[in-house]
Symmetry: C2
Subunit: 384 residues, 2 copies
């Protein structure tokens, strides 16, 4: 397969964008990536989105957004894998370019959640779980994560406080990200006193929804003639699933799909965990942050919170995470989140992360988690 490089990136801020339609958000990010790449068109468009059919009464986002971007007649489809929709869309774009079927592709993640006509975002989110055996029993997404976290606290003897570091680090990093949903720091005391959503998860363990779009333009390395950009190559990609219902897993405290997808990505890249300079992980809930770090080989089983307590995840630490705020503070427009993660990794590897810049960042990883761990996709990027 051909080598693939990132030529352009773009993103909107994450907020309640009531004044912008779905296509305007996607268009802003997509045009920014095209402008950043300095090219006039692409061969294919891949849209990552979870809930536009129900939340915005608009499907067929490939044609809808390709048309709006002036990319009429180009191939364009939407990929859906719940919260991992965007990493899935990026992976489809990657394989299309790597295969030689097309020379360039624009992957856009977009989600518009805050002014849904249906107004039932909790119900929309629950469509990522098992409709028959989870959602229809009244178990919301935060409740599923609360069950997992409760069991984790019991099994490995952690206290709720031990998870505060994930959230504090995210909020600190978001302070310097102009696109982030939140710009406020967090103290341990505030974390402790926060409203509980579903015991033991409080509002600072959970990430906020929002509207936003991010875009990545990739091309075959052999098709580039000249560019002024610092080029970043896609080194590895891996995707795996697990049972859609949490109760169907061998071990609900272990993300098998994360382990499998990261192994694939490491094998393709010829790398291992110690080579990763920063990790944009999927901290939809603090428990997911811990489980992701463990499954990816950055912490021992059951020891994820140790990395937060020891400062390993800080910008200056062994494995910096959520360097621009993560899902927790940059925000989590579900189907778009995976593209924000890649956008941020590329910013770091290009040296464009401003006050969030990780020193000597040469290799970065992103991991997008769909459902309660049922669909997990990992990518590794490196400076050329």
């Amino acid at each position: 397969m051909r080598k693939v490089v990132v030529l352009g990136i773009g993103a909107t801020s994450i907020n309640e964008h009531w004044q912008f339609s779905l296509r305007e958000l996607a268009g802003e990010a997509g045009l920014a990536a095209i402008t950043d790449a300095g090219i006039s068109s692409v061969d294919s468009v891949f849209i990552g989105n979870m809930m536009s059919g129900s939340a915005n009464h608009q499907q067929q986002l490939g044609s809808y957004i390709g048309d709006w971007l002036g990319l009429k007649y180009k191939e364009a489809v939407r990929i859906e894998a719940a919260c991992s929709s965007s990493a899935a869309a990026f992976r489809a774009a990657l394989i299309a370019v790597a295969s030689g079927e097309v020379d360039s592709a624009l992957a856009i993640g977009v989600e518009k959640m805050t002014d849904s006509p249906s107004g039932e975002i909790t119900a929309e989110l629950a469509t990522a779980s098992d409709a028959d055996w989870e959602a229809d029993q009244g178990v919301s997404f935060v409740a599923l994560n609360a069950l997992v976290m409760q069991r984790y606290l019991h099994e490995y003897s952690w206290k709720h406080d031990d998870f505060a570091g994930f959230s504090i680090n995210a909020h600190n990093n978001a302070m310097h990200n102009p696109l982030a949903r939140f710009h406020s720091t967090l103290t341990l005391e505030t974390y402790r006193k926060a409203h509980v959503v579903a015991d033991p998860i409080n509002i600072f363990d959970a990430s906020p929804m929002g509207d936003g779009a991010a875009a990545i333009l990739i091309v075959a390395e052999d098709a580039i003639h000249s560019t002024t950009k610092r080029l970043v190559r896609v080194l590895g990609s891996g995707a795996a699933t697990d049972s859609i219902a949490v109760h169907g897993r061998k071990d609900p405290l272990w993300l098998s799909a994360a382990e499998k997808s990261v192994k694939q990505a490491f094998a393709q890249a010829g790398l291992e965990p110690k080579d990763i300079n920063l990790f944009e992980y999927h901290d939809a809930f603090t428990i997911m942050a811990a489980l992701s770090l463990e499954a990816c080989g950055f912490a021992e089983r059951g020891q994820g919170p140790r990395l937060a307590l020891d400062g390993d995840i800080l910008p200056s630490g062994r494995i910096p995470v959520a360097t621009r705020g993560g899902l927790k503070a940059r925000g989590h427009p579900v189907g778009a989140t995976g593209m924000y993660q890649i956008f941020e990794v590329i910013q770091q590897l290009r040296g464009e992360a401003g006050l969030n810049q990780i020193e000597n960042a040469r290799i970065g990883m992103s991991q997008n988690i769909g459902g309660s761990g049922s669909n997990i996709i990992t990518h590794i990027f490196g400076q050329i």
Copy 2:
């Protein structure tokens, strides 16, 4: 890229399957394809589906169906391109295998429309058009097609009767397809007297919705060691879009996306229209049948109905279409339809089409149309 062959196919009947869930339908088709292929597993799963999020309150169909099929831990995603979702899913599977990223893939199209909890299938279907500038103005999908057909009748001086042959041929062919939604022949007189849905479209110009699933299992040709199946190779694939709204097109009576996608597929295959022995076209409405035949080079512009009047589309004709009933009589479970089309082409090329068998069928083509022509994907298959 590697050559790719079809190793297994499977499908359910199309009907009101109130007793089966979405995963049971997809599971039946998927397991049939796996059994037909004579292998025990696949590397990746690609699901084509349009409306499960709203109609069935279930997204994340990759994990949902992969899990149900016992393909846990495998890569699995859903592709959505409205009514062309299944051809888009097949194309993603094709590129994944051709690229070498995986050695095998299972593409499943599934749709369950008849017992939607929301009960508003007309509104669900309208999400494939432009929400702001078509659907929200009250223009349903059949109304959009009626506007196009009305203009076509005016522009090229056809009568409504001239379209009857498309529907009569479809109903005749479905008589011998046990999986078809309808098993009743149609006369010109019945066609003439039928209820009008949106003038000039009557119920026999329009295809019926339904529940159903079809699956195609593909593998890299170089990975096959032995099989007793007659092998069919994917010769060409092409995908293109057009403006999502009909009023955005240069010419609403010409399917530019069909023309572009079929040219890509012909170029890959090194073939031209006269080489095609049968064509599973997208006769969601009789006007779409005519427009597809024209854009693909089987008829002159404005002369599609001539092929129905002259018998060219009959099983014994120059370009047999809808050989197992087409969308009109086999049925149109929207996001699954494209996989049924491919299933039927493979049946023909394997010589497994029973009383519908087209003599000397060596090369077949399928074309799946999403929206009112905004996303069109064409595949060409040939006997090895």
